[in-house]
Homo-oligomer: 178 residues x 2
């Protein structure tokens, strides 16, 4: 049975952790047919989106970190590009229309097996509003950013790195700050 | 039951495709407890690794595209960074020791829900040899690259983009060529 067959999980499937043939680490393998459920790192795509010098932030309506401010970002879905994922999240969370500029940063968070792909983007229009997963949205000048109420360390990383290349037409992307 | 509990898949679990509460698309959901198996895009990490002007290529011992030449690259594993994944693949496939330089490209292949993160890297020593998934490994000058026997379009993209920034200390990363 092919691993590309997303529909394969019969009602009586029993999975256990063992090392499949031709592999070198434990996986979740179907006892009956050796179908492997690969557990992979997850991709989060997001944006530092600007209108002039202001950056777009969303106040989270959902856990974790409900009530704290974040970039529009979320899990990349099947059958989309990374850029489409970031654009979709900006629409879902902030009803923002934007144009991706270039890659700002890739962060790896191996503790939770997550890779975050964060783009720099420009809003096409300044009209924004809270989507269902947001309490509030806002456009902030640098000195207005709620630095003490950011949801995740990566939000602060991305904002600081964004400001460090503000006005630059092109730059190599950032990674986790050391 | 938390989605972070990787071990949760009891012997009698029955999964069906339906839209979980608070979601907007179909997922594989456990009929008994609403545990969701998220199907996510997969991350491939790889390298264009050089020794002087030569680039490292590996001839694939495994399908798909067995017998064709590729960059050292493969699926990112849990609990590693993207850079560690690329470095690990270079060791597994070509017994290569290298130092990551900077991000060369991110490719999205939405048809197969894959994101490829390709770094530019320098070999620390020119000693390389085939790992278990490679038939052969080699260091190629540009005119020696087996252009007609490359395994995947992304290999050609990455090599061409690599040559277009050869000698540049820093550059914005590439994406799928248009
Ligand atoms: Zn099975
Ligand atoms: Zn269950």
């Amino acid at each position: 049975m092919s691993n590309d067959d997303h529909l394969h999980i019969p009602a009586d499937a029993a999975f256990s952790r063992r090392i499949p043939d031709n592999d070198d680490r434990e996986r979740l393998v179907c006892d009956a047919c050796d179908y492997v459920i690969y557990e992979n790192p997850k991709i989060v795509t997001g944006v530092v989106a600007t209108w002039g010098a202001k950056v777009l932030l969303v106040k989270r309506e959902i856990e974790p970190r409900r009530g704290y401010w974040a970039l529009p970002a979320g899990y990349m879905e099947l059958h989309e590009t990374a850029e489409q994922g970031a654009t979709r999240e900006a629409w879902e969370e902030a009803r923002a229309k934007l144009k991706i500029d270039q890659l700002l940063a890739i962060y790896s968070i191996p503790q939770i097996s997550q890779v975050q792909i964060i783009y720099r983007a420009r809003l096409s229009i300044p009209q924004i509003s809270a989507g269902p997963e947001s309490q509030e949205v806002g456009l902030f000048d640098r000195e207005e950013v709620p630095w003490n109420d950011l949801a995740f360390p990566t939000v602060e990383w991305a904002l600081n790195q964004h400001y460090s290349v503000e006005g630059m037409v092109s730059f190599p992307p950032f990674t986790n700050p050391v």
